[in-house]
Symmetry: C2
Subunit: 337 residues, 2 copies
């Protein structure tokens, strides 16, 4: 049995969107999956009552009276609220009673909570939030998407490894291509951290590092290397580019709606907007922690939760966490040898 | 007479696109404008021969036998090639024989060349490349777009002033709103440089600083402040976001072409793509130098050169350089008082 805990109180439309997403997920997932709704029992029960035909044998409710708000300081909130839905959900995983957590709550609190309660794998210096960017081809993983604003060169190399293992285990890409996000492709381009990270990545054996790539190469592909699978950046740049991308898609919808509203009704155009819709990609995994945690947008729809639960399930069945542990342990022992 | 020098050898399609752009610009500009084509005289004459009806009294050719290539190191190239089209064009302005330079050549060489040959205004610590981002509303100025990858907090504040004066003088915006590009709007968000810049910007009197803005707010507007006029960022982030934006527009064209090619023929949709087309906005001014320099994409079309020449002309007639000088001199004397 694979048990996915869902922080039912995290998002802007909690617990309604969360519960509805869980119900949708159960109808898609194989029978061996169970969803653990974590939050205020009465509120969750009230939402569940809207879905009388759902198989209650595949749903657990774990009562958690507290909620960590979006504007709370992550570390203080985690310490002060051990009975929050987030802390209880992570606690289940720590106690071996759950396999993964999905949350649309305070991102910083998920990061800090997972790092403190689950711990980092040996050799991992920083956990990182990884997001999939839609392209006209396969999606591209960009990390870090905002967990760490000032990253050391070694941390950036760690992200390259975490992204590689994730793309192999969860998206089934073999030998994923890595690019370092920079302002030019030449060796001497970039700020201090990217210059040193570029040199370290070029030496790293086992990584399929293609080199520096530019902003235009993320979704359009590089003129020599084509599309990369993983884009490494510090959390400052990654977060800004991620949020910018989301807004550009919305800008274009707004422009089309204004200038040519009938176009938005065309099935071909709806297919494009679906392709560019983050909700389809199912949340951002937090990589490097001992376990599985997937972070969703605060504004996630039921469909987004459904997809995030699927991604969390793939991380569990793909043995992502164990593979990360094994890789970093090997790397550690090699660097000490 | 207003004299705009055009580096005729800078772009990927030189001198053809440059000469054609100059011819187009002359038919739009008032009679008081003259264009100085700088580069290899015979190549320029050969291109000009294609336009027998152009008024040659409004075109000067300044012979420059050398060209600085895209892959040359800027500082070494400027020093080694005093007879390059770029150095000759800037030399005309320094000697008082020209009012502005437009170039699609090596961006680093334009930056270094203009800084060395024209000099910076007193009190300006760094020249900055400013680019206009299309939005569904008015365009937004983002600076720095790649001149300086690691910016000090004081330099970021300087960019806010340069952007303010540019938007007033050239785009006629009164009291332009400034946002600092960051990963969250709270005071404590960001890396070391943005945190300190945010504090300095809040104290700056005379600037219309609204606060930290996020990636999504650049083209979509901030939920409280609405659209800003100027976005301040270091050149690393600014350059990556700029190139990313260009590529997203191309990605969407590619997707539409694949899924619904007839849609691209609709005049309403063509209007949208024209709105999102950088070429319409006419190049990126280099702000802070004593004079006027406008940087174009290497791949600029004749239309892009025409618009860049227009922007350079507006900077001259708006007295941009003198206003920047006056502002920074006043700021300097106030900080010494």
């Amino acid at each position: 049995m694979i048990r996915i805990a869902l922080d039912a109180m995290g998002g802007d439309h909690a617990p309604q969107a969360e519960v509805e997403g869980a119900v949708q997920a159960l109808s898609d997932l194989p029978p061996g999956f169970l969803i653990q709704l974590v939050g205020r029992r009465t509120a969750i029960e009230a939402e569940l009552a809207r879905f009388p035909s759902v198989d209650r044998a595949r749903i657990e409710i774990h009562d958690a009276p507290d909620v960590i708000r979006m504007d709370e300081k992550p570390l203080a909130a985690i310490r002060r609220k051990p009975h929050s839905s987030l802390a209880v959900g992570l606690g289940l995983q720590k106690a071996g009673k759950s396999d993964a957590l999905v949350s649309a709550g305070n991102t910083g609190a998920v990061l800090v909570g997972a790092t403190l309660l689950l711990g980092l794998h040996d050799g991992v210096e920083r956990a990182t939030v990884a997001t999939l960017f839609p392209t006209s081809d396969q999606p591209v993983l960009v990390l870090d998407a905002g967990a760490t604003v000032d990253c050391s060169p070694r941390e950036l190399v760690g992200f390259a490894w975490l992204g590689t293992i994730y793309m192999q285990d969860v998206l089934g890409r073999s030998n994923p291509k890595i690019g370092l996000l920079n302002v030019g492709e030449e060796d001497e381009k970039g700020n201090a951290a990217t210059k040193e990270a570029h040199a370290l990545l070029r030496q790293a054996s086992g990584l399929h590092y293609v080199g520096n790539i530019e902003g235009r190469d993320i979704v359009a592909g590089h003129h020599k290397y084509g599309m990369v699978d993983v884009v490494v950046a510090d959390g400052f740049v990654g977060n800004i580019v991620l949020k910018f991308y989301e807004s550009v898609a919305r800008l274009i919808v707004r422009l089309v709606k204004k200038e040519a509203p009938t176009v938005l009704q065309m099935p071909e155009i709806q297919r494009i907007f679906k392709l560019l819709d983050y909700a389809e990609y199912g949340g951002a995994p937090l990589l490097g922690v001992k376990g599985v945690a997937v972070i969703c947008h605060g504004s996630s729809t039921p469909n987004a939760f459904k997809n995030a639960i699927r991604v969390a399930g793939q991380a569990v069945t793909g043995n992502l966490s164990a593979h990360i542990a094994a890789h970093f342990a090997r790397r550690d022992s090699e660097s000490q040898a």
